[in-house]
């Protein structure tokens, strides 16, 4: 017969955050027929008697347990993982999951430093025997392709130097592209892509400011309809506003 204390321990060990493997093993290790039966009767959170008086696992409880064990495994794996590998795996996963998850690609490409992004590209080689840009280019369709491939291929200059004149003319070019959105989608405009994917971040922040002056709105407001471009600019120019938004929480796990 299982001691009530053991049942208590088991209940605790299996619910809540993480899994207390040691306790579980020490209790279940000595299990025999009657012992198991009394555990089933005692752990009402996990077992119930169905209409045929059969003591069975609750399917939801099994699902939750699976999740708990997985979370623990993921925590172990990811905590030891090199950040470059983590980014490479995230990129691969986002690509696999499709357009709904492409924002992750934008996020990684734009919020990492130039060397961190290079590191992720190196890790991608090691993990998948391909380059990230070849996989992206081959799997992303039409409009977003140019932008996404160029974003992950960037190796932006990281110095503070900014040319105000260039920033002004580029803000104008962006405004024009947005104004002509009905003739050609801004995300497919060569100028737009070149500006956003080759210029340094300090430069782009200057472009952002200049844009405000000539448009009255911020460029993110004017790009309401263009999700990827908007996110690109947010990540590059105003990362704090980007990260305060709530994202799908369990993407990683």
């Amino acid at each position: 017969m299982a001691h009530p204390a053991e049942v208590e321990v088991l209940n605790k060990a299996l619910s809540g955050i993480g899994v207390d493997e040691k306790s579980i093993i020490s209790i279940l290790g000595k299990s025999h027929h009657e012992h198991q039966r009394s555990i089933r009767k005692g752990c009402s959170k996990f077992f119930f008697e169905d209409e045929r008086q059969f003591e069975r696992w609750d399917d939801t409880a099994i699902k939750n347990l699976k999740l708990e064990f997985k979370r623990f495994k993921d925590a172990v794996v990811y905590s030891l993982m090199h950040p470059w590998e983590r980014d490479a795996r995230l990129l691969k996963k986002a690509l696999k999951k499709g357009p709904q998850q492409y924002y992750v690609i934008v996020e990684i490409a734009c919020t990492r430093s130039s060397d961190q992004l290079l590191g992720a590209r190196k890790a991608y080689h090691s993990l998948y025997d391909r380059s990230i840009e070849e996989d992206l280019a081959a799997h992303v369709k039409a409009s977003e392709r140019k932008l996404l491939v160029a974003l992950v291929s960037a190796y932006r200059y990281e110095g503070p130097k900014v040319k105000e004149d260039t920033a002004k003319s580029e803000a104008k070019a962006l405004l024009n592209a947005i104004k002509n959105a009905d003739k050609r989608k801004p995300i497919e405009d060569e100028e737009v892509i070149t500006i956003l994917t080759t210029r340094s971040k300090p430069h782009l922040r200057e472009v952002y400011e200049q844009y405000k002056k000539i448009s009255g709105n911020t460029i993110t407001q004017d790009l309401e309809a263009e999700m990827f471009l908007r996110e690109t600019i947010e990540c590059l120019c105003t990362p704090h506003t980007y990260f305060t938004k709530v994202r799908s929480p369990n993407f990683l796990f």
Binding site: L118, H125, S131, E134, A137, V149, Y155, E190
Partner: protein
């Protein structure tokens, strides 16, 4: 394989620096001394000499060089002294200012360096010019040239030998379709040429040849006057058989009226430590004369001596 000849006992960098300093002193310059030293040191050794020279004499060696020398010889020495990544960054920057005639140089650098080397070039470009290589290329190139060159310089190709034959077949077909319809700067063509690994591209092009009867560059010769097509063919050549590409550049540099020293210097100084042996073989095969003889016949003085030393002539 490199043609650069380095002596078995290399003097200390301080000694070399001292000799180089001496070479500049007094009337004129002792160019032979410069050749004797610099044309017989590898990249790491040259870096040390440059550092030591700078610390000892308070001036970058290249600045002294600029003051004392001129023209083709100086350019050859300058280019060869630079660290390979710096050199490529210098050449690329120079090329962006000479667009469109120097699209070639950008393409050449992007396609014939390894992924790792290309990345070092991009890093060196940041350090030297305070901007990114891709933004300068994008700024100076237009239209189809920009579409091709920006992805080429931004690539970080996978460097392994793995090849996916199914992919090679399907991409050969895509290339063939686009080329038959004369869509030479189509997104798909650019995608394949600028992102696939060199091994994969090779497999694709071999399959193209087998399946469609012509090598891809033959099909790309449809319009001999089209400059973009010329660049695209050269891109493919650089990615698959660079020594043949360089042989052609050298041949054209030497055979034209006068000599294209700009191209000659570039190829010799950038390949002396890489694959000049193979390039020389190609040259001899194609032209029935050794590269040394051709260079000697077409150049003179210190410039000639520098080039010959770099391509492996004479003693160490």
């Amino acid at each position: 394989m490199a043609t650069l000849k380095v002596p078995t006992h290399v003097p200390a960098p301080s000694e070399d620096a001292e000799q180089l300093r001496k070479a500049f002193e007094g009337w004129g310059t002792n160019e032979q001394m410069i050749i004797d030293i610099l044309a017989h040191r590898n990249a790491a050794q040259r870096n040390l000499i440059r550092k030591t020279y700078g610390q000892t004499y308070g001036e970058d060696f290249l600045t002294s060089l600029d003051k004392e020398l001129s023209s083709d010889f100086e350019r050859a020495v300058l280019l060869f002294t630079l660290d390979p990544a710096e050199r490529d960054a210098y050449l690329a920057n120079e090329a962006t200012k000479r667009f469109p005639s120097s699209n070639w140089v950008i393409m050449e650098i992007a396609c014939t360096r390894s992924s790792h080397e290309l990345f070092n070039v991009r890093k060196a470009y940041h350090a030297r010019y305070k901007k990114s290589l891709e933004e300068d290329v994008a700024h100076h190139a237009t239209g189809d040239y920009r579409k091709l060159l920006v992805p080429l310089v931004s690539a970080f190709r996978y460097e392994g030998d793995e090849v996916n034959m199914t992919l090679a077949k399907s991409e050969a077909k895509i290339l063939h379709d686009k080329i038959s319809h004369k869509h030479y700067s189509d997104e798909e063509v650019i995608r394949i040429v600028t992102t696939r690994s060199k091994a994969q591209l090779n497999a694709t092009l071999n399959h193209y040849n087998t399946a469609f009867g012509n090598a891809i560059n033959k099909d790309l010769k449809a319009d001999p006057k089209d400059e973009f097509l010329k660049l695209l063919r050269a891109t493919i050549k650089c990615l698959t058989v660079p020594e043949k590409y360089f042989e052609k550049v050298l041949r054209q540099a030497i055979n034209r009226l006068g000599t294209d020293e700009w191209a000659l210097t570039r190829v010799v100084t950038t390949r002396a430590e890489v694959d000049m042996v193979r390039i020389k073989e190609e040259y001899q095969k194609r032209n029935s004369v050794t590269l040394e003889k051709a260079v000697a016949g077409d150049t003179s003085g210190d410039y000639e001596r520098m080039l010959l030393a770099l391509i492996g002539c004479g003693d160490v």
